[in-house]
Symmetry: C2
Subunit: 352 residues, 2 copies
């Protein structure tokens, strides 16, 4: 067992194979990854290695019992070519909140930051500089221990892999408010970034796509009356000049973009109301013209404005505003992330 970071570099970089002017989201991977294994009761042998396939026993618990969690973060380059992260400690803390719920051993915060920092330095050339692009960072932990007994694994692997990425969505999205399916239960794992939550969303999302929408707006599973999340984003609703968003709960992910947007909006003098929002009041506001905006917020898509939503067979279009909160807030948060503006909150972290 070793606890000092080992570094093994690739022989030949794959960077020249990537077209940095036309990046997709999360589909090409940088040269290296950070890897750490949990066994015999501790996280050990942290290393930076060439990004390469992993070998696993067919009985590894990840294949059978979905014991896995992940995070999503981004690294940006500012004009001076500094590498910047956005609230990385919040991701590490949330990773460990997810870990606890999935009975995965927590990962040491300092080792995480050390491994990530080294990785970003080694793969510095992989961080896109083009406006709107960034290095998407994917930390994940999964169960590697073996056996067909449905019980927690005793061995795990943490990997941090990165992918130079462009925009997640190509423009405004159309969403469907879900009336039947649900992504999470009361007392379930919805607040965790657990792999199984996402697979469960695919089918309802596919049905929505077949009907001409891009995403599902999740409602609570008991009554389907409350608006909770937008696909893999938190949701914001602007009625007149007030910005509404649901409080977090054990069904809703405590999004870092969400809480940053709440803070920025308040400081920009926008009235923000964190409360449960019913589908009915959104429909009523849409009919009366008081519904001004709907948008999703999350690391991958940043802010994703919604053009229209469907509910019970009817489509409701959102107006096309000149000065939308979505574009104002997106600019403000992106400017902080990329060091184009002051960061009064201390959210930006310089990698050095």
């Amino acid at each position: 067992m070793s606890s000092t970071l080992q570094i093994q570099r690739i022989k030949e970089s794959k960077r020249s194979l990537v077209d940095f002017d036309n990046l997709q989201f999360g589909s090409q991977f940088s040269d290296h990854m950070f890897v750490c294994d949990y066994k015999d009761g501790s996280w050990q042998n942290p290393s930076i290695e060439p990004y390469a396939p992993i070998s696993l026993d067919p009985s590894a618990k990840i294949f059978h019992y979905g014991q896995s969690i992940f995070e999503g973060m981004k690294a940006y380059k500012d004009e001076q070519k500094n590498t910047l992260l956005f609230r990385p400690l919040d991701n590490i803390k949330r990773l460990n909140i997810s870990a606890k719920r999935l009975v995965i051993p927590e990962f040491p915060e300092d080792l995480f930051m050390q491994g990530l920092t080294e990785l970003l330095k080694i793969d510095d050339q992989w961080i896109p500089t083009k406006e709107g692009s960034s290095l998407y960072i994917r930390p994940f932990i999964f169960a590697t221990g073996s056996g067909f007994h449905a019980s927690p694994s005793t061995e795990y692997k943490l990997i941090i892999a990165t992918a130079p990425s462009g925009a997640y969505f190509a423009g405004k999205v159309r969403v469907l408010i879900e009336e039947h399916y649900a992504r999470s239960a009361n007392g379930g794992v919805g607040f965790a970034k657990a792999g199984g939550n996402y697979a469960g969303q695919f089918y309802p999302t596919q049905l929505a796509i077949e009907k001409g929408y891009n995403q599902v707006i999740w409602t609570d599973d008991t009554s389907h009356e409350y608006i909770e999340e937008a696909g893999a984003m938190n949701i914001f609703i602007r009625i007149n000049d007030t910005l509404l968003t649901s409080p977090t709960s054990d069904r809703i992910l405590d999004g870092i973009t969400r809480k940053s947007i709440i803070q920025i909006a308040k400081d920009a003098g926008i009235s923000v109301d964190i409360r449960k929002v019913t589908v009915n009041e959104v429909i009523a506001a849409a009919k009366s013209g008081e519904l001004k905006e709907l948008f999703g917020a999350g690391t991958a898509a940043v802010i994703s404005p919604i053009a229209a939503f469907g509910y019970q067979g009817t489509d409701y279009d959102l107006p096309d505003l000149e000065n939308s909160y979505a574009s104002l807030l997106k600019k403000k948060i992106t400017d902080i992330q990329t060091n184009k503006s002051e960061d009064p909150y201390g959210w930006r972290v310089l990698i050095k």
Copy 2:
């Protein structure tokens, strides 16, 4: 692409390393596995190969989005050393029900039976003959396609692996009726054998274990008033001489043991009532002495009698009956499975 079954045998069997008189559950694996890959829109290259590690890209969707499903079945040897399966078509059909909900391409039923049959013949010596032992069969499918976009994979792998196994539980179990956590949502994936359902159960189960119980009895996530499942088993409740079990729903797995037990019990003249059962009526029956038995039913544990249950800080002991339904029904189903009795239902399938 090939659609004929390729067979590649191991060089040296590991069978001599296994102590067939002291088998645990699902912890040692037979020499071979059946493997089939989905790509370019079809299941292809079915093969029987040595049981060996699988290599996967770190961005394979199984690691990130929990897109995986599985089944659990058993093969038995009768006294004439015939190999027998129990209702295998029900497992294949349920695998495909799970597949649909998880947006995994359905697997052809005949190819499944062909691969499984060949596998059982090749690893015939791995099927335990000792009473109470069997060959546990684990078919599973997981997403192998790569990328950090939270969307269904376009590539999958099906594996059927087997493990000579002894009993799942070592005796009667103590269970805790869950008041806070839940395993599945209305409109969720609880009815599917999706990996993520099981990881979500680990934490509440761990809390129960710390309190001295073995398993959790799941209740509905909305009110926690209705008794739904027992860990990874369906649950039966005997009040006086009536056997109660919850109807299946989108939160409850349609267990093959459950439906077989219902049939056998009815034919044995036991009154069976399939209806929602509240925690309150079970407590009341426990207090009045009308609660005679509680047991779980599932392939792995067959029938698992419950010795006591806890609820809101109180423990309720079940009586120790001479002629329990649990032991009667366990004998009846096991006798059918192992060809010790007639099989009036046509459930037994001879492998030849």
